[in-house]
């Protein structure tokens, strides 16, 4: 199963990179969302997959049953999801703000900081 997921992640990353290379900034944002998801899945998969046994400790016991899912990558991914969301939200607002100021979402036309030679 891990192998299948690894291939799917590859496809997600490829789609994300292709989107991020687009001129339209909105596509870039979509790519950002995709690549965060792919990254989270990568961490999760690298910690191995276990079906149906969450890392919980039963009442009366001091340690989880042997064979429960790996808790560490889950904790890491949880943090990563939230951070990824913060990044996405900020990028979205930044894009929105850039659009209201510059009037375009074509990144080739966003040249305030690095103007073309003939504009400069």
């Amino acid at each position: 199963m891990e192998a299948l997921l690894a291939i799917s992640i590859g496809v997600l990353v490829a789609a994300a990179v292709y989107l991020m290379l687009a001129r339209h900034v909105l596509r870039f944002i979509f790519g950002l969302v995709l690549i965060s998801n792919a990254a989270n899945l990568t961490i999760f998969t690298a910690g191995r997959l276990t079906e149906g046994m969450p890392p919980l400790i039963e009442l009366g016991q001091v340690a989880p049953d042997p064979g429960v899912a790996n808790a560490l990558p889950q904790a890491l991914v949880l943090t990563a999801i939230v951070i990824g969301f913060g990044l996405f939200a900020f990028a979205l607002i930044l894009m929105f703000r850039a659009y209201t100021t510059l009037g375009t979402l074509d990144s080739d036309e966003m040249r305030i900081a690095e103007p073309r030679e003939d504009d400069a």
Binding site: V13, H24, F44, G86, F96, L102
Partner: protein, 765 residues
């Protein structure tokens, strides 16, 4: 004295003017206390640890050579500061000037006293920087800025090369202390790295001391105020290169490379510069070129190994500093008193400026090498040094003869003609004599030239002998300085010098016209410098156009290309490409889930509809959440679902105000981007497969599992890790979210005040 003119009225600089003078004078007095120690043949050394781990210490070393320099720096520094206090009286930026000049003096003293190579380099660079500030003191003019920058670039570039040489030397010798390196004997000269080190150090010395072909910055540096020219660009800083060559003389001299490089570079610079000196009409420029001549002569002397050449080196060093500083200050007086420095206009000043004329005459006689001035002794010794040279006698004697004869003529142009010959035109001001403070320096320095000439014993034992011993070790035979050495070849050469010099002086008018024509035809280093800089700028903008085109997707492309090359290259180089993946245990349920997710991702990629793209993203997000549910991560799945919902809501809200995805009218396939994307995706898959092929290390997980309940009293291990074991991480995560929210709020709040709201024409293109 005729200090009646209002421009000389002592407006004064108050304490700002006096403190630097007091500092310089007390330093001079302090260094004088070393005189008996040094004369007795001892040396003094003072060490502070600085960066012991890199064997860098702040160590100072006083021997004959460094004391000679230290006395010249502090002594001339005192007089120059005194002079500047009147020369720039009431200048609005005098405080700044005094600070720069005093800083320079201290840096220069550090340079000549430093024993540690790195400390020496630091002081070396400090003189470069203060020199830059002083040349650019008149920063309102383009010329001042250009000259300052040129000097900084040339000497700064040389200093970088020098640093490489010094570090190499330190590691080769096993010590960074000059006093120990100089005791090492011949093993350094036979070391494989001797030649590289020598070339690097000489590059630093030649740029600093303006040897050909790095000479062009020095005449331009005359854009600085006259006291600066007198101090930095004749008496002290430009001699730093010469000082360095003298400092490493015991360790480096005597090889063929050393002898020929120094003799040829020095000799050529000396003759070349004295010819150009005669060509100038601005007196200050003339003196600048004669300084080049002196530096060339000093370099040439250092190439030799005989007692006469070494004695001549020290004597000429002192002599030149005395007369050249005096002449520069004298030119400043003339400039101050008449408003011009043009040789063709100035004339008949002796009546109006008798004291200046007197100082000029004394200094110029020393420069021309006439008896009984110390300049005569220096010249005799230089000739004797040339004649004793084993291999390059004719070359050196000819170079010395040419340079000295030209100096004789230049001395006449600078110090005789303006005072005693009829004026050649109308001077801007009616000439008037400078004030006492301005005259003290030139007069005192010029008189010293006469005193040392009449009584050479004053400097012989105290400065010259210890320095020569420092150069040559136990076998040293410092020659005696004397005015009358009998009828010998140097004397005949001197007489020839005077004869040729006189002819050159008389014929200098037509000669100058000829030289001007020749100079215009010859390649010009100063213009070469400009084309070099322009070429550099053109290269920089070409490179910027390539590397920084200002197009976001090129940057992203480059970033991902680097990721692909770095990761893929590592995989290939480490031979870590995994074999065929193990596809066991795959259920149709899972395959369907993957197909769903991949379809969502591909849909987002190809669609031109915003709603479709959002739907595709939603499918992927929910797919990920389902994966978390299936593989026993309920907490993560809940978070993923919440975040996914929020993402869709946010995008939906934003989309109400954003344009459609159809920028080019239709979906445009980008083959190159697709190739790169596929490559990055493939590499990620391969790396993940390679990771999965290695056994997992569960030590951390095991630790968290067994401690979760006993230590943190939590039954959900994932939650315990987040809020207990890695609580600080979680705190940081919350901070990130808060900052993102605050920034987003700030961005939205200012939406309607956008400064560039009037750029929508980009949309209509």
């Amino acid at each position: 004295m005729t200090t009646s003119d209002t421009t000389d009225a002592p407006r004064g600089n108050g304490v700002t003017g006096l403190v630097p003078i007091a500092v310089a004078a007390s330093l001079f007095a302090y260094f004088c206390t070393f005189l008996p120690v040094i004369a007795a043949g001892d040396v003094a050394r003072l060490v502070w640890e600085w960066v012991p781990s890199l064997s860098i210490s702040l160590s100072f070393y006083v021997d004959g050579l460094s004391l000679t320099f230290a006395l010249l720096i502090s002594g001339i520094g005192t007089l120059v500061l005194l002079y500047a206090n009147s020369y720039l009286a009431g200048h609005p930026q005098f405080g700044r000037f005094a600070l720069f000049l005093t800083s320079f003096m201290l840096a220069m003293l550090g340079l000549v006293l430093a024993d540690n190579l790195i400390a020496l380099f630091v002081f070396w660079e400090l003189t470069t920087i203060t020199s830059y500030l002083l040349i650019g003191f008149g920063h309102e003019t383009t010329k001042g800025r250009r000259s300052a920058l040129q000097a900084l670039f040339v000497t700064g570039a040389g200093a970088l090369v020098l640093l490489a040489g010094l570090i190499l030397l330190g590691f080769t010798a096993g010590t960074f202390e000059l006093s120990e390196i100089n005791k090492m004997g011949p093993e350094l000269k036979s070391h494989a790295l001797y030649l590289p080190i020598l070339i690097l150090i000489l590059a630093g010395a030649f740029t600093k001391s303006a040897q050909f072909p790095f000479h062009f910055w020095l005449p331009n540096a005359m854009a600085a105020p006259t006291p600066v020219s007198a101090f930095l660009h004749s008496a002290t800083m430009v001699k730093a290169g010469v000082y360095l060559m003298a400092r490493v003389y015991p360790a480096f001299s005597g090889t063929e490379v050393w002898i020929w490089t120094l003799t040829i570079a020095g000799g050529f610079t000396a003759v070349f510069a004295s010819i150009l000196a005669l060509r100038q009409t601005d007196l200050k420029q003339t003196l600048a070129y004669t300084t080049l001549m002196a530096l060339g002569t000093l370099t040439m002397m250092l190439g030799q190994s005989g007692g006469y050449a070494m004695t001549a080196f020290v004597t000429f060093l002192i002599t030149h500093s005395l007369y050249k500083a005096s002449l520069f200050l004298m030119i400043g007086c003339v400039d101050h008193g008449t408003g011009t420095r043009e040789a063709d206009i100035l004339g008949g000043l002796a009546r109006a400026m008798p004291v200046t004329a007197f100082a000029a005459a004394l200094a110029a006689l020393s420069m021309a090498g006439l008896p009984p001035f110390v300049g005569f002794i220096a010249k005799e010794l230089a000739y004797a040094g040339s004649l004793e040279a084993p291999s390059s006698t004719t070359l050196m004697a000819a170079a010395s003869l040419a340079a000295n004869a030209l100096m004789f003529a230049v001395a006449g142009v600078v110090a005789f003609k303006p005072f005693w010959r009829p004026t050649g035109g109308e001077m801007p001001h009616k000439p008037h004599e400078a004030g006492g403070a301005m005259l003290l320096g030139p007069v005192l320095l010029a008189v010293l030239g006469l005193v040392f000439g009449l009584m050479p014993g004053l400097i012989q034992g105290a400065l010259i002998n210890p320095t020569v011993v420092g150069f040559m070790g136990e076998t040293a035979d410092p020659k005696t300085l004397k005015l009358w050495a009998g009828f010998n070849v140097p004397l005949y050469l001197s007489l020839a010098t005077f004869a040729i010099g006189l002819v050159l002086y008389i014929g200098h008018g037509p000669l100058r016209a000829f030289l001007t024509r020749a100079d215009a035809a010859a390649p010009n280093f100063d213009r070469g410098w400009d084309s070099f800089l322009n070429g550099l700028k053109a290269f920089a903008s070409w490179q910027t156009r390539i590397i920084q085109p200002g197009v976001l997707r090129y940057y992203i492309f480059a970033t991902f290309a680097v990721v692909l090359i770095a990761l893929g290259g590592t995989l290939i180089l480490k031979d870590a490409i995994p074999g065929a993946p193990d596809l066991e245990g795959i259920t149709w349920k899972n395959v369907a889930l993957m197909v769903l997710m991949i379809s969502g991702a591909l849909l987002t990629t190809v669609t031109d509809s915003r709603i479709t793209a959002m739907a595709g993203l939603g499918v992927v997000g929910m797919g990920v959440a389902v994966i978390f549910i299936v593989f026993a991560a309920p907490d993560v799945a809940i978070t993923q679902l919440l975040v996914e919902t929020l993402v869709v809501v946010l995008v939906a809200v934003a989309l109400l105000r954003l344009p459609s995805l159809k920028m080019t009218g239709h979906f445009a396939f980008r083959p190159l981007d697709a190739l790169l994307s596929a490559g990055v995706g493939l590499v990620v898959t391969l790396i993940l497969l390679a990771v999965l092929a290695t056994p997992i290390d569960r030590r951390l997980t095991d630790y968290f599992e067994v401690t979760s309940w006993p230590e943190a009293f939590g039954r959900n291990v994932v939650n315990v890790i987040l809020v207990d074991f890695r609580a600080l991480d979680t705190f940081g995560e919350i901070a990130v979210v808060v900052i993102a929210a605050l920034s987003a709020y700030a961005l939205l709040r200012t939406t309607d005040k956008g400064p560039a709201r009037g750029i929508p024409e980009a949309d209509e293109k």
